[in-house]
Amino acid sequence: MFKDILDYPLDYLFLAVLSGAYLITVFLRQTAPYSIFLATSLFVSLYFLWGIIHHLHAKSLHGRVVLEYFLVSALGIVIVSTLLI
């Protein structure tokens, strides 16, 4: 079940650090909508890039996979943005 994490620990460590930094930013700027929007935009963009780089490492990159990361990232920013706008 944890095979992918154990195979690519550095990739997941980076993702965990990135996610933690995002959450700390949101927590510290929770009443500043514009800051949260910027932080979320950066987070989802980096997640999209992380997905591509991770699948390159795993030699499993495919057009459908890129589209999947794009859509999941888009869902993430849309969910947060609707609360800010």
């Binding site: 499993s60 947060v80 609360l83």
Partner: protein, 300 residues
């Protein structure tokens, strides 16, 4: 396909969905995005708010605050408040002082009460009140927050008030960029009481937090009929709460489906060329936490 079959098709990997929960297919993700955006649009239309087109900082305007405050009063069976430039001047002075002395309170660190600004602007009140708000993206959310607070609601639907003054001031407060809103209520009616106001100023000030109201002299005019509080329409579900619930439900559903898909794919040793479920779970979880943390704004 039976109901159980449909559930299996949408939520767990199976031969019918190419061994990937159908909800996680790209076409379904596009569908979910569309449904989510449509539901949000529907919630906003239900709430009858103006379009939030002015950007992410804030779309709060003086006119909107006056209009929505008066709409709330009308729905409570009260008369509308007229905009008073002296009250607006007092509100701007208060906002400027808050930014200058860098505080978020009704009384400044140097001891200036809200009533100082009324007097400085030359507004001789018989009854007065002050509301503060910051960080709100829209006027409707701000009014909803005030109406959800009993003390603020009492001020908004107070029949003694006749005039209103608003200041909407962007600035940096306590290290954060914000849009500060000061809403002042007042009335100068009540016969000779205006001239007597300084004489009765020693009357102890009423409770300052969270909403401030001061009466310096009794209002001698007949009081309008005040509807019982339980007749005032306060929405149990605001636009923000609905949107937040929708966001939490969507993210929680995705996390559940991703976990179920991961567990079943691992148990059946299915090899697929798809995105990594663990990565999606981590990402969506942090989005969920962010949604929980985000607030509509602060009132006082």
């Amino acid at each position: 396909m039976t109901l159980a079959g449909k559930i299996r098709h949408w939520f767990s990997p199976h031969a019918s969905n190419n061994f990937r929960a159908n909800l996680l297919h790209n076409s379904s993700l596009i569908l979910v995005l569309g449904i989510f955006l449509s539901l949000n649009l529907f919630v906003r239309l239900l709430d009858n708010t103006s379009a939030h087109i002015l950007g992410f900082t804030s779309s709060v305007t003086v006119d909107e605050v006056v209009r929505e405050t008066n709409a709330t009063r009308l729905s409570a069976g009260l008369s509308t408040l007229s905009y008073n430039e002296k009250l607006a001047d007092a509100a701007r002075r208060k906002a400027a002082n808050m930014l200058e002395e860098n505080y978020w309170a009704h009384t400044s660190p140097s001891g200036k009460t809200p009533w100082v600004w009324f007097q400085a602007a030359g507004y001789n009140y018989t009854v007065a009140g002050e509301h503060l708000a910051k960080d709100f993206a829209s006027t409707s959310r701000m009014i909803e927050a005030w109406m959800a607070s009993p003390t603020h609601r009492d001020n908004i639907v107070n029949p003694k008030y006749q005039e209103i003054g608003i200041a909407v001031v962007p600035g940096t407060l306590q290290g954060s960029d914000t849009v500060l809103v000061v809403q002042l209520f007042g009335s100068t009616s009540g016969g000779a009481v205006t001239a007597q106001a300084p004489a009765v100023k020693s009357t102890p000030a009423p409770t300052v937090l969270p909403a401030v109201t001061e009466v310096t002299a009794p209002v001698v005019t007949p009081e309008p009929v005040v509807p019982p509080v339980n007749e005032i329409q306060t929405p149990k579900w605001s636009e923000f709460k609905l949107e937040k619930t929708l966001s939490i439900a969507t993210t929680a559903l995705f996390i559940l489906v991703l976990v179920a898909d991961l567990v079943m794919a691992e148990s059946k040793v299915i090899s697929r060329r798809v995105g990594k479920n663990w990565a999606h779970i981590i990402f969506i979880n942090f989005i969920l936490l962010a949604v929980v943390i985000v607030t509509a704004g602060k009132i006082m």
